[in-house]
């Protein structure tokens, strides 16, 4: 009796322990966060991209977690700073996959950083949503790679359509020497003839150049009817100032790369009349009430500006879209299984983001069309919509 009772006691204890372990195990599994990996250019020359992107990711992850997470699990953001260095981006992408064992990567502020990480994501079978601009990221289509921003080719096309409507056909291009600048320059050259545009002069400037009057003087001597500046960072602001300085009065177009208030601030009154294609986010207030994007961009802008007390930029919006696309795909797939999330990403239809309405397909891993771009003009130190 004694023996058997002791036996039973022992068995009960064992069963209890087992049950306890099992229940903690399931609890741990339920609480195991979904890991969102990211590498962004938070410092360095592309800091103006990476900084708002990181802030946005942190803000949205916080909000989603406060609302209960995704699939009952919290999100955990693991973000590294590649400081605009493609080699570092590659290392961080590896670390995210191999050490941090993330479920998905949303990141890559610059095209260079993104392209360095693409082979690694492809090889590991890791869904990767890039936040960089160039068309090479999704063309040719790569199985695991998606992107949220508009491409530079779309920016060229939007500008050329606007030029057509103003009956201008001879264009001078002045471009920076960065990856984005070069890529946009090449894309514009490629699609120019489709819109009956002739490029009559091509000038370049270095990333750290502080004076572009020499290049603009040459453009002044050409037969151009309009000037297109493909570039981002401080270069376009200097171009804009020098443009007025050398007395050029032709219409000046900038790229979507400078679509932030900072550009207007740096260029000062010289920016008046400059046109550029940009996402709806910048002009949330100006959008007509019926615009599909209006509620999304207004909500994002308000929460960002409330939290960080700085102006919103489209780049942060790209990070918002990237994370929301991934979250939606996970909900759609009902799991964080990488292949299923990838398939769900590719099947995204009608997602209304800050960049536009996204309709992905097997042939299009960006899912935006020209309507996603709005043509803006600087008026009285602010953006205005060109009708």
């Amino acid at each position: 009796m004694n023996d058997s009772s002791r036996y039973f006691k022992g068995a009960r204890l064992a069963a209890l322990t087992l049950a306890a372990t099992l229940s903690t195990a399931t609890a741990v599994q339920a609480q195991e966060p979904i890991r969102i990996g990211s590498f962004l250019s938070v410092t360095g020359p592309a800091a103006f991209l990476g900084d708002p992107e990181q802030k946005t990711l942190e803000m949205v992850v916080e909000r989603i977690n406060a609302e209960g997470g995704v699939l009952g699990r919290k999100l955990q953001l693991i973000a590294y700073d590649d400081s605009g260095d493609a080699e570092k981006a590659r290392t961080f992408a590896k670390r995210l996959i191999e050490q941090d064992k993330v479920d998905v990567i949303v990141g890559g502020s610059t095209t260079g950083a993104t392209m360095a990480a693409v082979p690694i994501a492809e090889q590991a079978g890791m869904p990767f949503v890039s936040l960089a601009g160039a068309v090479v990221i999704v063309e040719p289509v790569k199985k695991w790679v998606f992107k949220t921003p508009h491409t530079d080719r779309m920016a060229c096309e939007k500008i050329f359509v606007d030029l057509q409507s103003r009956k201008l056909s001879k264009v001078a291009m002045i471009s920076g020497s960065g990856g984005f600048d070069k890529s946009m320059h090449a894309e514009c050259l490629k699609v120019a003839s489709k819109y009956g545009i002739e490029i009559v002069a091509e000038e370049t400037y270095g990333a750290a150049d502080t004076d572009m009057t020499a290049q603009l003087t040459k453009i002044r001597a050409s037969s151009a009817q309009a000037v297109l500046n493909a570039g981002f960072g401080q270069g376009p602001a200097i171009v804009t100032r020098n443009y007025r300085q050398v007395g050029l009065t032709l219409p000046l177009y900038q790229s979507h790369g400078v679509a932030s208030k900072e550009y207007i601030k740096l260029s000062g009154p010289a920016a008046e009349g400059v046109r550029l294609p940009a996402a709806a986010l910048l002009v949330a207030d100006l959008l007509p009430a019926g615009d599909a994007q209006k509620p999304v961009v207004t909500a994002y802008r308000n929460s960002f500006e409330q939290k960080y007390k700085t102006d919103v930029s489209t780049f942060g919006g790209h990070a918002y879209d990237g994370l929301m696309l991934v979250v939606n795909a996970m909900k759609q797939a009902g799991s964080t299984d990488k292949a299923k999330v990838r398939d769900a990403l590719e099947a995204t239809k009608g997602y209304v983001g800050t960049a536009g309405v996204v309709n992905m397909s097997a042939a299009d891993h960006m899912g935006l069309d020209l309507s996603a771009f709005r043509m803006l003009e600087v008026k009285d130190g602010n953006w205005s919509l060109v009708k």
């Binding site: 103006f48 150049d209 009057t213 003087t217 401080q234 900072e262 740096l266």
Partner: protein, 291 residues
């Protein structure tokens, strides 16, 4: 064609005046310590960024500019006290490496104290370009040229007419002999950093309205200024000015007539050419070793 020439020369001279100010800073420190101060570009940045943030606090522009230059001088003195002086008995190579460390440190600090964005200072006297022989010049360019001219005049007065300036010159010729006749070479070293920071910051505030300023503007300016100092002859003040202006002109004309893509290459080709063919620079001392 003629007006293009004038335009290229005008923009070349403006850039050249900035390089000259940076190059002068290199020469002053070189004379006092025999070392190249690679944090010289960072002094430019500290000047520009301080002016921007002081202006943001509501100070009037002239006050912000003067205080910014003063702030940079304090930074320069602190750099000498905290980083250079403790290692003054080490070789020049060690000192040079320390200045590289200082430049990295200052750049990092600037990111923390300020931010990573690009800032502009309002122009001192308007943005309306001045038309000159078919070329256009910003009024700010005249400020830069005048500022550089005044700095050079001030320096030549300081080194030619004041006792302390002469003591600094004496130290540059022969530190041991200068010590023997009672010159405090430690003070000279300290003053040289203060003076170098002053010149750099002056360049920083004068150019911030044209070229903008950010935490990392010091890198390229430092390199270009170094190229200018090498071209003119390290340690020679007239050489620094000459080198700066020549480099600016070469860049302006090169960008205008050859290709804008090669603008930065010009500075570095000049460094290489000078090192190969004219190690003393245009106005540098022709040193002969006697055995």
């Amino acid at each position: 064609m003629g007006s293009q020439w004038v335009q290229f020369v005008a923009s070349g001279l403006t850039a050249g005046a900035i390089y000259a100010l940076v190059a002068l800073g290199f020469s002053i420190v070189y004379n006092a310590s025999g070392a190249i101060n690679f944090a010289q570009g960072e002094f430019v940045m500290v000047g520009g960024m301080s002016a921007v943030s002081l202006l943001a606090t509501g100070l009037p522009l002239p006050a912000a500019v003067l205080l910014a230059v003063a702030a940079a001088v304090i930074v320069g003195l602190a750099v000498e006290k905290l980083a250079i002086e403790p290692a003054r008995h080490a070789g020049t190579v060690t000192l040079i490496i320390i200045t590289i460390g200082v430049s990295l440190f200052l750049r990092g600090l600037a990111q923390l104290v300020w931010d990573k964005r690009v800032h502009a200072l309002p122009a001192f006297s308007g943005d309306q370009p001045i038309h000159l022989f078919g070329a256009t010049l910003l009024p700010q360019s005249l400020w830069v040229l005048a500022g550089a001219g005044l700095a050079v005049a001030g320096l030549s007065w300081f080194f030619g007419r004041t006792l302390f300036g002469k003591a600094m010159l004496a130290t540059s010729y022969n530190p041991l002999a200068a010590r023997l006749v009672g010159v405090n070479t430690r003070t000279v070293l300290l003053a040289s950093f203060g003076l170098a920071a002053l010149l750099g910051a002056l360049g920083g505030v004068l150019t911030a309205p044209i070229t903008f300023t950010a935490y990392d503007t010091g890198i390229m300016l430092g390199l270009k200024g170094f190229a200018a100092a090498m071209l003119g002859g390290l340690g020679s003040f007239s050489g620094a000015v000459l080198g700066g202006l020549l480099l600016g002109l070469a860049e302006g004309l090169g960008a205008g007539f050859i290709s804008s893509a090669y603008k930065d290459v010009i500075a570095f080709v000049i460094i290489l050419a000078v090192l190969f063919f004219l190690p003393g620079g245009l106005r540098g001392a022709r040193r002969t070793e006697r055995v």
